[in-house]
């Protein structure tokens, strides 16, 4: 083999590279199209498909929900999980097909609809629809529930080890407290972290105001000194083990940790917090729409919804489920509810939030 590159070889390789890049350029200009599904609006009756692929949050379903469904309907279920809305959006945007059911949070539904990635529901197949509580219907991201079926709702708060902390933390400011340095975590999620500091200063968790965001950034960077790490749901194990004493965590995951370690407690800070509603939706590229609808109708049954809520620790939007629940979750009291606000999509402010998140991570 020759040593080094001669100048002519270098030029020829650059030329070839440019040709290749040029070809690539031609390709890149094609817009990403979405497939049209035959008979989009009316799925119609007929036999169920024999397979169903569900893409859901981890630890977000009942212990026997899937197996019960498989047995009753004779459908094989493939169950994949993700840890954040961004993972879900990134996957779908990149062209991952083959998911029949997904579970986006409210603001993610806005994005999915903007990209026209969701298929409208066929309500005629959802006979159990009436079981849903009206207060969870008609939300801003899907005013007529054309695309989404509410799944679970939850909120972000402070999970802590009652036996290891001096007093229950009741403010987001606890993360600025040096007494617990190295024993606290916040989620690796820009909506939750920046939202927390916005609420701390009395602003909206959906703020697009650069000044409010700059202040939130300053607080976040100061708090970062006290944090052990940025970690989302996986912090459960560390709470149970006692590695972490205070964690910003969602109420349902806290309930799951509490089931294994009763000293884990939950508090909604006095400044308020963010509420969210996760809903099931059918992507336009779904291959098994009938089975998807059958599953949706299945989980609208009160006893199934109760099982999902029991296991995950989150609140069910199903009115009939509440009396059937064996383990009520860590739900807020009515007066705490007043301090909660729903997460909304940031639209063009996403870039600003992302830059602030980068600065927080770097600072």
């Amino acid at each position: 083999m020759t040593k080094g590159c001669t100048r002519r070889e270098f030029i020829t390789s650059s030329l070839t590279a440019s040709v290749g890049l040029g070809l690539g350029a031609a390709l890149a200009c094609e817009p990403v199209r979405q497939e049209e599904m035959p008979g989009d609006s009316m799925v119609g009756g007929g036999a169920l498909e024999d397979e169903l692929t569900i893409y859901n949050w981890s630890d977000y379903i009942g212990t026997t929900t899937v197996s019960d469904f498989e047995r009753e309907f004779g459908v094989r279920v493939i169950y994949d999980t993700y840890e954040s809305n961004e993972d879900l959006l990134a996957k779908l945007q990149a062209g991952a097909r083959g998911y029949d059911l997904i579970c986006p949070t409210g603001y993610a539904v806005d994005v999915l609809r903007a990209f026209d990635l969701l298929a409208p529901l066929d309500r005629s197949l959802l006979s159990n629809w009436e079981n849903l509580s009206p207060e969870f219907l008609g939300r801003s991201f899907d005013p007529e529930n054309q695309y989404t079926v509410p799944w679970l709702w939850g909120l972000s708060g402070i999970a802590y080890r009652a036996d290891l902390v001096a007093s229950p933390p009741d403010s987001w400011g606890v993360f600025l407290d040096e007494a617990y340095r190295g024993k606290m975590t916040q989620p690796d999620d820009m909506r939750d972290v920046i939202g927390c500091w916005l609420k701390y200063r009395g602003h909206s968790g959906n703020s697009r105001d650069p000044e409010e965001l700059a202040q939130a950034k300053a607080d976040a960077i100061q708090a970062k000194e006290n944090l052990k790490s940025f970690v989302s749901a996986p912090v459960k194990d560390q709470l149970i083990a006692g590695d972490v004493w205070i964690a910003q965590l969602w109420n349902g995951d806290t309930a799951q940790a509490r089931a294994e370690e009763p000293e884990v407690a939950f508090k909604i800070p006095r400044e308020g917090s963010m509420l969210y509603l996760d809903s099931m939706a059918i992507p336009r590229s779904a291959r098994h729409p009938k089975a998807a609808h059958a599953f949706l109708n299945f989980i609208l049954r009160p006893e199934v919804a109760a099982g999902i809520s029991d296991r995950s620790g989150y609140g069910s939007p199903n009115a009939g489920a509440l009396p059937l629940q064996t383990r009520p979750g860590l739900v807020p009291t009515p007066e705490e509810f007043v301090r909660l606000e729903y997460q909304e999509d940031l639209a063009e402010a996403t870039a600003l939030w992302d830059r602030i998140w980068t600065e927080i991570k770097v600072g």
Partner: protein
Amino acid sequence: MRSTRQRRILARIVSKPSTLLAPAGIWLIVFFVVPLGVMMVYSFMPRGVYGGVDSGFTLEHYRRFLDPLYLSILLRTTLMAAGCTTICLALGYPVAYAISRARRWKHVLLLLVIMPFWTSFLVRTFAMIFLMRDTGLINSVLMRLGLITEPIVMLYTPFAVMAGLVYTFLPFMILPIYASLERLPTSFLEAAEVLGAKPSARFRRIIFPLSLPGVVAGSLLVFVPALGSFIPSDLLGGAKQMLIGNLVQNQFGAARNWPFGSAASFVVMAVVLLGVMAYLRSGRGELATSLRDIG
């Protein structure tokens, strides 16, 4: 048994370079060069409101990189990769040297060095987590022995990230250096010894300079992946640092800003290219032979 006609066709196929290189060449062009081209085009397109790209041409993404925030990320990542390379060199050279000197156990030792190289990098990172956690093995043992009362915080620190990186890439440094040391003609050394040169002088003047191609190859094999890595800083660093790999990954994930992510990738490639050109200048032979020795 093939008919003579078939054999003649097959013979023609394998004797012409164009047919031999066609499948691999096409695969590389279509699935390597073209994707880079696509990414390059993306890097010049404006971002759509909800993510994705709009049509148009803009330099804003590259200009954004001139922002001190992003330059600092690039600098920090480069320094970290360089630091990792240096530590790997300091730790790896003695090992390579020792193996090349060992007579009986050379083969076994080499196998032992190759093993981590072939094992899954995720598994090795997990091994580090396992050891360094507050309730992990190191702390438990030290506490049990009474040497410490509070667990030493090792995980989720820059130290953990560096340890993880070094642990992952050390074999990549050892093998090329060993390969070049092996090829040193013993006559040089014997002559030096006979002429009265001290061991340290022998090393400084003869051995090290002659092993330089291996050192450069190893450094490249460590520096390049270290530059683009983002998993160690996630898993071992507690996601508290943002390296250029994290930034790029974020743009293709949560931030949904593919154009900026593409621009950032090309900036990384530019840094890599500088390293590669330095390597090409010192000779390309070592990379191939060390990879052969791995096999």
